[in-house]
Amino acid sequence: MMSPSAVLPAEPADSAAPRRRWLSVLARTPRDTLEAAISALDPAPAWTRLRGPETGMIMVRGRMGGDGAPFNFGEMTVTRCSVALPCGTVGHAYIAGRDHRRAELAALCDCLLQTSLFAQLNEALIEPERRRQAAERDKMLRRSAATRVDFQTLVRMG
């Protein structure tokens, strides 16, 4: 369990930055992409489940006025999983939604990315997926940008 207040450290430790980056990519990676990346590994990795996969909820918090004191906004479904490699490396995943397999594969990727497989998996999975996600966001933002308007004030209407 995380602390109920989920206090944010002012600045995350720099050492965690690469892991944060790949975890944020994995959180948005489709299951099929994870399956493909894992099945492409030779030899196939072995792992054991430490916890889960299990589905629960996270209480999402907002801020009053957008930037004020926090309040409890509403919950979302989340699936978590923790797995270990035979060498003892442990990986974790917390992923929005209820896809157990996806959470387990993401936790496995988190393990593997901490090992000597980092370069291989980063190149085959994380980087292409990060680019795909960025392209997706860019597409959404360009679609919205096409609806940007300049209202001309003609007559005061009230």
């Binding site: 430790a13 629960g56 919950e75 979302m76 917390y94 360009r142």
Partner: protein, 364 residues
């Protein structure tokens, strides 16, 4: 009072089967897919997630299918499902300033940093029925701008805040109270009020907000900004000890600014009403923001005279899952209760008749 009854199993079973058949409708038509509801009835999905207070598009779509499109029943189903899930913790507060914007408009500034972005809106449609939808014509391809919108879109209220013309929203760093864990108590903190309003019935929020516009606790609102889009949710799990992103959710945010003449302690300035809801739901977010502002009457030293300013009235009646449960329980058998009422009425009538007869005899 409801008294338990037994029996009727066969009839209940037949009724359930009939319900399933009635949900299915004409079997010569293809069955509607949950994914189709999720994609093509997206605003219904958003409303159900909001009123259930659980963000899960697929489950909300399933609930809509099961409830035959009865959105209040669907929210009830999703709220009930919620009780089967463990709570893993709370997220860091979402940052709506870093939203991936789908729509963002301001009614107080024509030109504002980032611009006015219409997004997909019915605001500029004629509200005429579109018969091309009967024949399933595909819509045209959407245009793309050469450059994307900025990923950092400052709030329209930022300029007012910088000038000190808008009440600030101090963060005291305390863990906010949670309505799902603690019973509703009065007076309620603003954090509790916002949580209750965020899951409140859209019709109720709309009506309450509308009542303030019509003079029942007027707040002179301006829609400073309405934005909707995707925000990232981050948590700090105890295994990792640092913030990690777990995915994205779509939210709509409404910032209302309202005239305020000032009080003994506060200079004249604008006050705010805040609305934040799951999915794309502007009516809901605006209703919430209007009611949030009206409920600040007590704190701002205003007279509490209208229903929308009365937090006990508003918060006790905003949740349609509770309201519907209590109203609809009247359908359950009240036979014993009613029998006693019937006997009471009969005995009162008999007494009255006897009295009248005695009085008549005395008069003779």
């Amino acid at each position: 009072m409801y008294v338990a009854v037994k029996g009727g199993e066969a009839a209940i079973e037949a009724s359930r089967t009939l319900l399933a058949a009635s949900r299915r409708g004409d079997r010569t038509l293809p069955q509607i897919e949950v994914a189709q509801i999720e994609q093509q009835l997206g605003l219904a999905v958003d409303r159900v997630m909001g009123e259930a207070s659980l963000y899960d598009r697929e489950l909300a779509a399933l609930a809509i299918k099961q409830a035959q499109g009865d959105l209040q029943e669907a929210a009830f189903l999703l709220r009930a499902f919620r009780t089967t899930l463990p709570r893993f913790g709370a997220s860091l507060p979402i940052d709506t300033a870093c939203m991936t914007i789908a729509r963002r408009i301001s009614a107080i500034y024509k030109d504002l940093p980032g611009g006015q972005v219409l997004g997909p809106t019915v605001d500029y449609t004629h509200r005429l029925l579109d018969f091309s939808l009967i024949t399933n014509e595909e819509p045209p391809c959407v245009p793309f701008a050469d450059a994307p919108l900025a990923t950092d879109m400052p709030r329209a209220t930022a300029a007012l805040e910088a000038e000190g013309l808008l009440t600030s929203e101090p963060d005291d760093g305390r863990t906010p109270p949670d309505l799902t864990r603690e019973p509703l108590m009065f007076p309620a903190s603003r954090a509790v009020r916002l949580q209750a309003l965020a899951r409140g019935d859209e019709g109720f929020l709309l009506a309450m907000g509308y009542s303030t516009q019509r003079g029942y606790g007027g707040t002179h609102p301006f829609a400073a900004e309405i934005r909707y889009g995707t925000v990232t949710v981050e948590i700090v799990s105890e295994e990792l000890g640092f913030p990690v992103e777990i995915g994205d959710i779509v939210v709509t945010e409404c910032q209302m600014v309202n005239q305020f003449k000032g009080s003994k302690t506060e200079p004249p300035q604008f006050t705010r009403g805040y609305g934040l809801v799951f999915g794309h739901a502007e009516r809901r977010a605006m209703g919430m923001a209007l009611v949030d502002r009206a409920l600040q009457a007590r704190e701002l030293g205003e007279d509490v005279v209208a229903p929308a300013q009365d937090e006990e009235f508003v918060l006790s009646h905003a949740d349609h899952v509770e309201a519907s449960g209590f109203v609809q329980h009247l359908k359950l058998p009240h036979y014993v209760d009613f029998q006693s009422e019937l006997e009471l009425i009969r005995s009162l009538r008999a007494e009255a008749a006897a009295r009248a007869e005695t009085a008549l005899k005395a008069a003779e």
